[in-house]
């Protein structure tokens, strides 16, 4: 016995469901191909069993072994991570202070300070780079031969200068959604100013601090131009090292290290998404007390 099959007419896409129209799909595919073909090629050829990177000659991990035994490259990577960590810490502190002050206080010349803080974001990298070169050559010559990591000081200073305004912008944007009545309530209930900041303001600011830290870390790790002008022969960072390797010749070793770094980036992104959740779902304003202070009350 066979039941009559009711065929639903094939659902026609709505007029605004652009994603279901084939030209749109093709376009997205094209953009994705453009963005990822180079990266995929890079990863694939990092496993290539050949000294040259042109033809596929079988799977091998030997470039990874070689890269992990390349002391100069590893030292550069260590320098980069150290610089990024230090400049992130300083940038978050300075950026939080600046963002907080600009949100909280009225003072003469505020628009001026506001504009000045925005300048490092728009000034071309090369201009800041030569500025740092000249500054550390004339005004504040960084002593050579300092012990690690003090020899990285000049680069760290340069990185903080272009990173912390980004943190300030993020913090300020976040504080715009702060409900000042909560602060007044805390003060009414007897909390001092410092306590109010710690228990009410900081918990509200914390997503911005995390986002700002992530931004500062990425900016620092990514920077080539400004570091290129501040680094000396004994303070080579990862991008500067890769630059000199690429200028010299294209070697599969670079592919291997790049793949490792990309894997790290993807991992960090996944963790960040996990921790902060779907960024679009989070745009609804939070009502009630922030989580952190609610937990404090319980303990």
């Amino acid at each position: 016995m066979s039941a009559p099959v009711h065929r639903l007419p094939k659902e026609r896409p709505g007029p605004l469901e652009y994603l279901r129209a084939w030209p749109m799909k093709a376009w997205i595919f094209l953009v994705a191909l453009f963005l990822y073909l180079p990266l995929i090629t890079l990863v694939v050829f990092s496993f290539n069993d050949s000294r040259r990177t042109v033809v596929w000659e079988g799977f091998s991990l030997r470039h990874y072994a070689k890269a992990l035994n390349n002391d100069a490259l590893l030292e550069a990577l260590g320098n980069s991570l150290t610089i990024a960590a230090a400049s992130t810490a300083l940038s978050v502190i300075l950026g939080a202070l600046a963002g907080f002050a600009l949100w909280r206080f009225r003072f003469p010349g505020k628009p001026l300070v506001d504009g000045a803080l925005g300048l490092p974001i728009v000034v071309p990298e090369i201009c800041l780079g030569v500025g740092m070169l000249v500054f550390f050559a004339t005004v504040l010559p960084w002593p050579r031969g300092l012990v690690w990591p003090l020899n990285l000081g000049a680069i760290i200073i340069a990185h903080v200068s272009f990173s912390f305004p980004f943190v300030a912008v993020v913090v300020r944007a976040r504080m715009a959604s702060f409900n000042r009545e909560m602060e007044e309530a805390a003060r009414d209930l007897g909390a001092g100013e410092w306590r109010t900041i710690r228990d009410i303001v900081l918990p509200h600011m914390s997503p911005a601090l995390a986002a700002g830290a992530l931004l500062a870390f990425t900016l620092s790790l990514d920077d080539f131009v400004i570091t290129f002008f501040t680094s000396g022969p004994d303070t080579v960072t990862f991008p500067v090292k890769v630059y000199s390797m690429v200028r010299f010749s294209v070697t599969p070793e670079v592919n291997a290290v790049s793949t490792l770094l990309m894997a790290l980036t993807v991992l960090l992104t996944a963790l960040a998404l996990r921790a902060f959740g779907d960024p679009i779902a989070r745009t609804t304003p939070v009502t009630g007390l922030p989580k952190a202070s609610a937990q404090d009350d319980r303990s």
Partner: protein, 289 residues
């Protein structure tokens, strides 16, 4: 004082270095290492020589072309993201952002491997070419001429491709931010009233996305104009942009005053671009009640 520390940092480690460069731009080399600040305008006059004017014009042209290509490539993508279901939206945005978080040097290096004469693009084209050749042979037309690889690297094309590759997210994200706020009923009305998709895009979506187009263009144009690494690694001997000339003055040519003058011309050009954008968006917001 909470503002004190960041302001101190900004003045000492940002404005002071730039101020020194600015002062040097009015100086001249005095011996090998000394620079005397004589208040001369000769560095700026030299920057107006045809050789350097040409490089400025070329940089602006390359940056403009990059911006245009990013817009053409990114606009349909941003529209697709806007009208995608929510879960897919996150993935599509991630698709654009992920290369952006990858190190700039790694991305540029990856492009070299793809664009080389024996790279992936030419490999793919050669494969298609030989397939076409076999096809024409089997149809009795005889084989095609031998495949000549396109030279995609170490020229101006490579610089533009590289700049588009790097700056696409700067365009897509502001476009998406503008499109996401747009009132969908306007589009439905336009389609209902008989305008086709082409007309709806041209007369409804694009004008409504204009603020995003403006800010995306600015965010793409400014870093593209001052880019150093891409023309340096992907460009040929005639693909020098302003930043490369500045670098040469500070490192190899050792003419700091002239390099300083060029830096400040680049900086002023950046500020002019920002001012123009502010003017344009100001006028727009006045027009729309």
């Amino acid at each position: 004082m909470t503002l004190g520390a960041p302001l101190f940092w900004l003045v000492v480690f940002f404005f002071a270095p730039l101020a020194i460069v600015w002062a040097y731009s009015f100086g001249e080399n005095d011996g090998l290492v000394r620079i005397s600040l004589t208040g001369t305008f000769q560095n700026y006059v030299r920057a107006l020589e045809p050789l350097y004017l040409e490089i400025f014009a070329k940089s602006a042209l390359i940056a403009g072309l990059t911006t245009l290509l990013c817009l053409v490539l990114g606009f349909p993508f941003a529209v697709a993201v806007t009208f995608a279901p929510r879960r897919l939206k996150v993935w599509l945005l991630l698709l654009v952002m992920l290369p952006f978080w990858t190190n700039l040097l790694i991305r540029t290096y990856a492009l070299i491997a793809v664009l080389r004469e024996e790279g992936v693009v030419n490999g793919g084209l050669e494969f298609l070419w030989s397939a076409g050749s076999a096809l024409s042979q089997s149809l009795g037309f005889g084989p095609l001429d031998e495949f000549k690889p396109l030279s995609l690297l170490y020229n101006n094309t490579a610089v533009v491709i590289g700049l588009v590759y790097i700056h696409l997210p700067f365009m897509v994200l502001p476009l998406y931010a503008a499109l996401d706020r747009l009132d969908r009923s306007l589009l439905e009305a336009s389609l209902d009233l008989g305008a086709g998709h082409a007309r709806t895009w041209l007369f409804i979506i694009v004008p409504l996305a204009a603020p995003g187009i403006l800010s995306g263009s600015l965010l793409t144009f400014i870093p593209a104009l001052g880019s150093y690494l891409t023309p340096d690694l992907l460009g040929g001997p005639d693909s020098q942009m302003i930043a490369n000339i500045i670098e040469r003055q500070f490192k190899r040519a050792n003419n700091w005053p002239f390099g300083a003058a060029l830096s400040f011309i680049l900086m002023y050009a950046t500020f002019i671009a920002i001012a123009l954008q502010a003017l344009a968006s100001g006028r727009r917001s006045k027009e729309t009640p």
